[in-house]
Symmetry: C3
Subunit: 453 residues, 3 copies
């Protein structure tokens, strides 16, 4: 447990029970549409959590032995859980250990410490809980106090699970997020087919660039009608540029494979188009920049995407976003949230940029940096230049549903720790600190994503 | 207020009343030449302070409403001040809030906390003070205990205000700094005209490269005669290279618009020429590197330069300065002070370089990093490799005259905090710490800039 | 002394007397082969220590006055030591001061503080000690509790001193490390001659690429027979690429001077060949990346290499190692240890990479970062993502033999300080902390380098 002391503990207690606002993440809407019980402890805690299995893999544990990929299909869940427990020491000092301890103790009320000896016992305890009605997805969602949970959905997704949730008597708010990379990025091998599919879904002729834009507008409107308040883009190299006459390039890309340079140029233009559509339709725009995906080709081939081999690279936000910001960055109603894995850009780029451009907000510490020390570095490096009001609060960004309360709890502890240090340095008093704590726990996220409670 | 504890407080008290040495900044010498009262509280505290108005702009306040630019001319100062006060919460956690609190409480002796309710009352209190003789520029300069204040002046500046100060009975030491970018950088649209003007001012034919160098030497000598002890250069990309025969390039640049590559090459050469002239005439050389200027073209067009849209970018000091240092870096009498906004270069580049090259000194935390956490990171990252003697002390680098005591006070608190931590870790005792504190407060700056008291 | 408090002191005491495992450094094996006394205090503490003389040089002390280079040959050792003592204040706040204080007080039992007044007295005390049998190299090695000491040796080195040590009755374990840069890097002006020499030493025809590889394999086998467990590479720009048919390039490089692009390409391929040979023969591979060597051409010309002018530059480990890792990175038995001087890569690149790839381990803080604050930043930035088990423990990397206990002691204090903070934050308890302390002090290094005690 991330332990707090003195005034930090007081600040934490003031916010620990606030509702959970989760404006960005990767939970599967099907869980809440069907509300079927989670299958077993391994599929709940180990197999979907790339934070967990990447660490075991790094110490020589084969991914198939962890139930991953086609080769892992026959691995028994109990064996997966045992293997995880046998390597529990690897997680000393990591946020995964803090999160999982929280899930076991606070969320599942299991007091036995995890170890190779207790693995079977804990496995049975969890399995028993999962079989109970009050541990099905909707019941957990309600018990967790989730005010809103955003999923992440491709532009071509039918959102049928979101529709099922809307049609159900359950009142949980699960909303989609518009993630159009597959129809914007010509380096996607299926780009041409995806654009054709987009045309079909929207009943729009995407044969020319204007039709393509119209189809994108229609698809955004469909998502907005389904509850979406935000879009999301994941890019390795941050690049935007405005093309005055994109028709010719669009035609070229629709006919043949794009060169990397053409693809980068076109995507760089389309990010600006997306920003301009956000000015029109009010959807908050998110950019997750600087993750190099699938750096391990063998793991990609045998086990697929999102298997721990996405590694951060250095980012130049300043030059990369200049074209976009010079078109729409002065628009106060437009909100663009930036997420970085390159912490050097916190103080050098993001804080000065967010402290100037009306459109910008700095996203919370992302991925590897969603951790006690990562949160401390974030506050240390962004607040003095950006203040608190240019931050976007927290999001858990997880596909591990059970860890959501744990992650928000850890963030709230980090917030309390930071604010207590500021008080100790004399920057402000307890009243300001308590207001900032609530902002950072819930209000800034609601505001940045247009999510009124 | 930046609050100190125990030994840090003791160290601070030992240096808090030392004179202010301000070897680099952007105050207007006209203030001290004419000694007319400051106009009103808004023009004193808000309108000239880009740290302040950028933050309000980032949250949607139009710059014109803050009295900025042609469009802001008709805005009433009291309305500007009210608007500022109404957004005072935006500055929680920023050094601006610490500085302005210091100005109000310590410098102006106003005990009422700033808020939207007290804005008018505080405005009136400040306005009343500004009307008094003891709050005119020279009186404040004397009361602040300023030993020397350096302004920053273009190479073509006539220095008439400095001459007026010299001719006056007042004894305040206000000295110019030679900032020749406009006559060195061919990417300046007025470069050719500026060089012609330089020739006129110095009575020198700048028709060939030798004449151009001679004109620069004469202009430096004029500045030195007026009290200058340092030059300054502001560059985005740090690049130096030596050209054996620059005549041809010079002729080309004097005849036509420079390509970006030609301009970078020529300026890269001229930085070395400037360094060599510093070896001759003893002027300390400053380089402020890595700020990308005017990234917001709309704000530049409507409101001009220095409006909060200058954003740091990554810098390569090692390769960028290699050509310069290999010509003059082994000269102990030459002093070159480097300022960075890319904190990753503190430990990686600047400290190892300053810990080797006799010519180098590391400038204090600059701009966004002149803040409590910024100062802590600076000491944490430079001292172990560069020691203390390769640092250049402090400079406030401000155009906000009233904030000078506040900024030096905050630096001195940061110094005391750092040194007390070093003592607690057992690195040295109270006697060494007290000596280092005085060095960092005044002596290193005097030494680096050749400013004997 | 780096002072500890409370639980940190307890943790430190549990590991302070463990044996010293020194798997990477630059001590001269001749010292232990001949076991002749060290010449004098200046040659022991000042002249070989580039951490020390670079600092004096940075403040204007000529290198020749410090006994360095041909010009320094006639300088008297006592004068060198006096000059060093007269500049002792320059080291306030640096690890060099902590190390040297430790050497004087703990290792040499000299209680008089060093100063310009005590320089002669201390010089005499050290000189007297060095004349005694119990201060000869082997006796010190034994007294220091060194379990194993690895030297660094060129591929063409005959290892005659290692043979002499092996043939002697002394039981100290001094092992070579295989550093083949001179026969891998075509930008080395002696590359062609070095490869020819390699052929001679191994009795292998290096006229074609296969012969060249065979010669390298034989040389590795010879080193392994002499006790080597690791290789080492020092490169400025981290770059690897696989060439399917390298014969043509090899022939070109053997006939003429390489272009920089050819050299980079070939060396990038050879790093992968080396990694593949490590998979075969089990030698741990080390890469020290991102140091730009000999940036001061005047110092290089007059005083030679390793004179304080090697300066770190930014590194891209992700793209740079992608080709190598995609060939052998999934091999758990292969160990590749990465050392960086670009601390921005700790959290952004190295920790995520080591937390995924089975082959990777993160080396300890290197060079300028082997310091209290450097160690703290290291743990702060690597542990949350990489855990502890993907670290390679400590190595002192020194050519200053006397400083080895001091450096390991400082590391162990840094370990204890870090772990005590983790305990205070509630991440784990005293039992886990004590186990991690021992791992970090000795066990991880033994494991990463295959050095069973």
């Amino acid at each position: 447990m991330y332990r707090l002391h003195g005034p930090a503990q007081d600040l934490y207690e003031g916010i620990s029970n606030l509702p959970i606002v989760s404006p960005h993440g990767h939970c599967d809407p099907a869980w809440f549409a069907s509300d079927t019980p989670f299958a077993n402890p391994a599929e709940l805690l180990v197999i979907p959590d790339h934070y967990v299995f990447r660490m075991l893999y790094s110490q020589g544990v084969p991914l198939a032995n962890l139930g991953i990929g086609a080769a892992g299909k026959t691995t028994k869940p109990r064996d997966v859980f045992r293997l995880f427990a046998a390597h529990w020491h690897l997680f000393l000092g990591t946020p995964s250990r803090l999160w999982i301890n929280y899930v076991l103790r606070e969320t599942l009320n299991i007091s036995t410490p995890l170890s190779v000896e207790t693995a079977d016992q804990i496995y049975d305890q969890i399995a028993e809980l999962l079989a109970q009605d009050d541990h099905r997805p909707r019941a957990l969602f309600d018990r967790f106090g989730i005010e809103v949970l955003a999923t992440t959905d491709g532009a071509l997704d039918t959102l049928e699970h979101h529709q099922m949730i809307a049609d159900s008597p359950w009142n949980g708010r699960v909303i989609p997020t518009f993630r159009p990379d597959s129809v914007l990025d010509p380096s996607d091998p299926d780009f041409v087919e995806n654009v054709r599919h987009l045309g079909q879904l929207t009943g729009t002729d995407t044969g020319d660039f204007d039709g393509y834009l119209a189809a994108l507008r229609k698809r955004r409107a469909f998502f907005a009608m389904m509850g979406t308040t935000a879009t999301d883009h994941a890019i390795e190299v941050v690049h935007t540029e405005w093309i005055d006459h994109p028709e010719e390039l669009y035609q070229k890309l629709c006919k043949s494979n794009a060169t990397p340079a053409d693809a980068a140029k076109f995507y760089g233009h389309m990010l600006i188009e997306m920003a301009q559509m956000s000015v029109e339709d009010g959807l908050t725009m998110q950019i997750h920049g600087g993750s190099r995906r699938n750096t391990n080709s063998g793991v990609l081939r045998d086990f697929g995407r999102d298997k721990g081999a996405d590694i951060p690279v250095a980012v130049d936000w300043v030059r990369g976003l200049e074209a976009l910001l010079n078109r729409v960055g002065n628009t106060p109603d437009f909100k663009l949230i930036l997420f970085t894995l390159d912490e050097t850009t916190y103080a050098r780029e993001l804080a000065p940029m967010a402290g100037h451009w009306p459109a910008l907000r700095i996203g919370p510490p992302w991925w590897f940096h969603d951790s006690p020390a990562g949160i401390a570095r974030y506050f240390d490096q962004v607040v003095e230049t950006a203040g608190y009001h240019n931050l976007a609060g927290f999001n858990d960004d997880t596909r591990a549903f059970m860890s959501i309360p744990a992650r928000h709890d850890l963030w709230r502890r980090g917030v309390a720790d930071h604010l207590a240090q500021q008080m100790n340095r004399g920057y402000f008093g307890a009243k300001d600190a308590a207001e900032l704590a609530q902002m950072l726990a819930t209000d800034l996220a609601r505001d940045a994503y247009g999510l009124a409670p």
